[in-house]
């Protein structure tokens, strides 16, 4: 009267809905934990989930219970030295607490904190909750470079892995019917003729006719057999054609000043900012490419390692980096196909009259092609010429150009949130 069922292939995550309901309900709590985590975490550490704690009293499900006080009798196991009539002090903690208590009520005080883990996805969901990439567009392509194969019916040629078996067998059957039908008909006629001949009186029979018919039947039967079961021209293949796709890729330029005035802690702050932006882009685009450009008096495209960790000294010419970015865009990332983002971090130092050049470069050449430009100035000091010039750029492109000042690591996330806050201007 028993039977086994293998449920392993069934859907998992039956609790997914309930889990989501819980997260929604305690959104504010979780958000607070996540914000703390973002500021605390090391730079490379954004890729994992996060443990979140919520005060247990905030999420308790209350029921009527006995409180401490009154008189109660508790039966416990493991008596060693007590005898009847012993009197003893209450265990410290007073009231009803203490080790001897557990047996009486199975609903003690419980934990102070309710702790659980968010998955990486959920974590990032909370990190970027309420944020939005400005001017997110899917670039339409004129030259159809980005393609996706889609099913487009059946064809006669193709590779063996795409054989459509059902269609092939159907073709084969149709061919067999078509090819055999005339032979069958001739065969039937021959057999009938032979039978009529044989039914005739032996005297009237034409022996040569009989042999002739017998040979004919034999020949036809052979032909019938030789019709192939399946032939190469029966084969049918699933046909795929390449369909052009709107581009869903972005490139992010990280520009950083590596002159002597930028210390390692400045760079750390910059790196965290870049990383947040990268994660954010990654959630919105299928493919995100990174280009690292660092500069002092001259700009250079480098790999990530070098970008963050090698040190240079010397003065600062910001326009060198902007010129390089401009060149790279023209050469490798045509604006028609790529969504372009630039994030620049600097301490605000620049060569005296270079800032004006920067502004011109931005306004004339770069900004019209970019999706968004963010500039963070990592300095506790007063702003210099570069900031002022950038402010005028911001006036020209209020939608696409954003700049903020960061003083210490704790500012990064708030500044980031401010830069990408969902704008609800109707």
């Amino acid at each position: 009267m028993s039977y086994f069922i293998d449920r392993r292939p069934n859907a998992r995550h039956k609790s997914a809905v309930n889990r989501q309901r819980f997260l929604d309900r305690y959104r504010t709590h979780i958000k607070r934990s996540v914000e703390e985590a973002v500021n605390r975490r090391s730079i490379t550490d954004m890729e994992r989930g996060e443990k979140v704690s919520i005060p247990a009293r905030d999420i308790s499900e209350p029921v009527f219970q006995h409180g401490p006080g009154g008189e109660r009798t508790i039966v416990s196991p493991g008596n060693r030295e007590f005898v009847e009539g012993d009197r003893l002090r209450r265990p410290s903690g007073g009231g009803g607490g203490g080790a001897g208590e557990g047996g009486a009520s199975d609903q003690g005080e419980g934990m102070d904190e309710f702790a659980f883990s968010l998955t990486r996805e959920e974590f990032l969901e909370f990190v970027f909750d309420g944020l939005e990439l400005p001017h997110l567009e899917r670039k339409q392509l004129v030259d159809l470079e980005e393609v996706k194969p889609v099913r487009a019916g059946i064809s006669k040629d193709g590779v063996p892995s795409r054989i459509n078996i059902v269609r092939s067998m159907r073709e084969a059957q149709a061919r067999r019917i078509a090819m055999r039908a005339p032979i069958r008909r001739a065969l039937r006629e021959a057999i009938e003729a032979l039978e009529t001949e044989e039914r005739k009186d032996p005297v009237l029979r034409n022996p040569s006719r009989v042999t002739e018919l017998r040979a004919e039947i034999e020949r036809l039967e052979k032909r019938l057999e030789s019709v192939p079961f399946i032939d190469t021209y029966d084969l049918r293949y699933n046909h795929l054609v390449n369909q052009p796709q709107p581009s869903n890729k972005a490139v992010m330029f990280c520009i950083m000043d590596v002159s002597g005035s930028m210390t390692q802690s400045h760079k750390d702050i910059a790196k965290r900012f870049f990383l947040l932006l990268y994660l954010f882009l990654e959630r919105n685009y299928e493919k995100v490419e990174l280009v690292f450009v660092r500069h002092h008096t001259a700009a250079k495209e480098v790999d990530e390692e070098e970008f963050f960790y090698s040190r240079e000294t010397g003065g600062t010419i910001v326009s060198s980096a902007l010129t390089l970015v401009d060149e790279i865009i023209t050469k490798r990332y045509p604006a028609a196909q790529w969504n372009l983002y630039v994030a620049q971090a600097s301490d605000g130092d620049n060569w005296d009259d270079d800032s004006t050049t920067c502004r011109q470069l931005l306004v004339k050449s770069l900004m019209p092609r970019l999706q968004y430009y963010t500039y963070v100035e990592i300095t506790p000091h007063a702003h210099q010429a570069l900031w002022e010039e950038y402010e005028s750029v911001q006036d020209d492109f209020p939608e696409r150009f954003a700049m903020r000042q960061i003083v210490e690591a704790g500012d990064i996330y708030p500044v980031f949130r401010e830069l990408f806050r969902r704008r609800t201007e109707a």
Partner: protein, 515 residues
């Protein structure tokens, strides 16, 4: 013992091996007259086990955040390795659904089959509480109905509205049972059909109750003093005439402002609370019975040579861990282990029957020396934890577990040891332990006292204190939930004897002017 041909060796299993073992267990269980529902044994992954666990053993449940919370805490504990997942989960349904986790070793699978599919299963089918309160054949249907109904309500009235209602119902679900009336089981189709009728009828009843035309008969204590009510308009007797212990039922039928769909959801929570009601009262018996049988059946398998030494040793190790009872002063102590107590008691009943001592003859004249299997079945069928302990806790078990009872009286400075495991103490320890398992003592006794249907529509509850024990602070959030359901002020009075010792009220009075 000499011809040992185990069905399988090692710790790997497959479906054929499980089927073979299941057949052997079934044969042995039949010898012991274990009467069971057909078994539906499901192999699941650990992740699915967590899902099943989080929905408190309901194979289908409606959606609610509290189940998500449950899931997260199970998941967290499991990941940290604090908790092995329960290797058994069994649902009181017909057929009886039991889960086996794919990660289990062969020994574990055999053990779980013996424990859940024959132990718990026969308990569900035999015990009087389950027979009275639950209908195993209808529960899955009803759960399907409940889930569908709740999600329809979510579509029509919004998730938030339903969630708030469920929160409130859950807070009161322990007070959703008629202790003295047998519920009538019905299937899901029936339920769905009746549901519409009920909606209309119920609403009309409520309207009747709250109508403003006064009834003729006047009796009982005046609700207001004569000078406040010279015409006697309020002197119509108390409603309800008798105190009501089933708070959710009272709300479902009488709450003035609930919409029909809200009443239906109150009813769903109430019905499910009722389904779990026997489980809360038979933990020791249920686990003890299942543990006793897995122990007996595994040993029989070994005696017949169907399992090898390796497996039985692994089993004994696991069994010992399950029935371990740390002392009250151990850091691992977390109350009396129901597996340990239940197993000890059932094993001892068998001993008393088979090999009674003079002490046993004195304490258990009826069962000492009787047929042990008959006695065991009798005990399983006709008791709940409270009465089972009262009836069957033997001096030997008290001695073995070294039980003692202690009185904690907040009016005394010191705790006092009332009784220990000696001649003078057995009876008192037994009584104290029995009371400890009584649901009526574990949970505060709260009843509906009065609904002021002619006045301000407030609802008054009475809490009858048990040995001066007050309510915990959670009373306020619960009252708030009750207020959501009732829609008018809710009052609660704690009574010690006939005196009101404490009053609670929600919403909280503004300036303390009201009582």
């Amino acid at each position: 013992m000499n011809s040992r041909t185990p069905i399988a060796t090692g710790s790997d299993w497959n479906f054929e091996i499980l089927t073979d073992y299941e057949r052997e267990i079934a044969r042995l269980a039949d010898e012991y007259r274990l009467d069971i529902y057909p078994n539906q044994i499901e192999i699941i992954t650990s992740e699915q086990m967590m899902d099943a666990y989080a929905s408190v053993g309901m194979p289908v449940g409606y959606h609610h955040w509290s189940f998500g919370k449950q899931f997260l805490s199970v998941e967290q504990a499991y990941r940290r390795g604090q908790m092995g997942l329960a290797y058994e989960l069994v649902i009181n349904s017909d057929p009886c659904i039991a889960y086996l986790m794919e990660e289990n070793t062969l020994m574990m699978q055999v053990l779980v089959m013996a424990h859940a599919c024959y132990g718990h299963n026969s308990f569900f089918k035999g015990n009087y509480l389950f027979r009275t309160w639950t209908d195993a054949s209808a529960i899955v249907d009803y759960l399907v109905f409940a889930r569908k109904y709740v999600s329809e309500c979510e579509e029509r009235h919004g998730v938030a509205a339903v969630e708030q209602l469920l929160d409130a119902c859950h807070a009161l679900q322990n007070y959703g049972v008629d202790r003295y009336k047998r519920p009538s089981p019905i299937s899901a189709e029936e339920e769905a059909r009746r549901q519409t009728e009920r909606e209309e009828y119920l609403q009309s009843q409520v309207n009747m109750l709250w109508r403003t035309i006064p009834r003729s008969e006047a009796l009982d204590t005046p609700l207001l003093d004569d000078y406040e009510d010279p015409l006697g308009l309020h002197q119509q007797g108390r409603y309800p005439e008798e105190p009501q212990e089933n708070l959710l039922y009272f709300i479902e039928k009488n709450a003035p402002l609930l919409a029909p769909w809200q009443r239906e959801i109150v009813r769903i929570v109430r019905k499910l609370a009722q389904y779990f009601y026997p489980q809360r009262q038979t933990q020791v018996m249920n686990e003890g019975w299942a543990t006793f049988w897995h122990y007996t059946l595994m040993n029989r398998l070994f005696d017949e040579g169907l399992v090898d030494e390796g497996l039985i040793l692994e089993f004994l190790q696991s069994h010992t861990a399950v029935v371990n009872q740390p002392g009250f002063d151990s850091p691992h102590y977390s109350g009396i282990n129901p597996y340990a107590l239940g197993f000890a008691m059932f094993s001892d009943i068998r001993r008393i029957c088979e090999d009674p001592t003079d002490e046993d003859r004195e304490w258990f004249p009826d069962i000492a020396g009787s047929n042990w299997l008959d006695t065991l079945h009798f005990a399983m069928r006709n008791f709940k934890d409270e009465s089972f302990v009262q009836q069957f806790l033997s001096p030997k078990v008290i001695r073995d577990l070294k039980l003692f009872s202690l009185v904690d009286d907040d009016s005394e400075e010191l705790l006092s040891i009332e009784a220990i495991h000696d001649e003078r103490g057995y009876q008192r320890v037994r009584e104290a332990l029995s009371v400890q398992y009584a649901l009526s003592v574990r949970e505060p006794n709260i009843q509906v006292w009065k609904a002021d249907i002619r006045g301000d529509r407030s609802l008054t509850l009475h809490h009858v204190q048990d040995r001066r024990r007050p309510l915990a602070k959670s009373v306020y959030p619960v009252m708030r939930h009750l207020h959501h359901l009732w829609g008018f002020p809710v009052k609660l009075a704690s009574l010690e004897g006939d005196d009101i010792v404490r009053r609670y009220q929600w919403p909280l009075p503004d300036k303390g002017s009201e009582r």
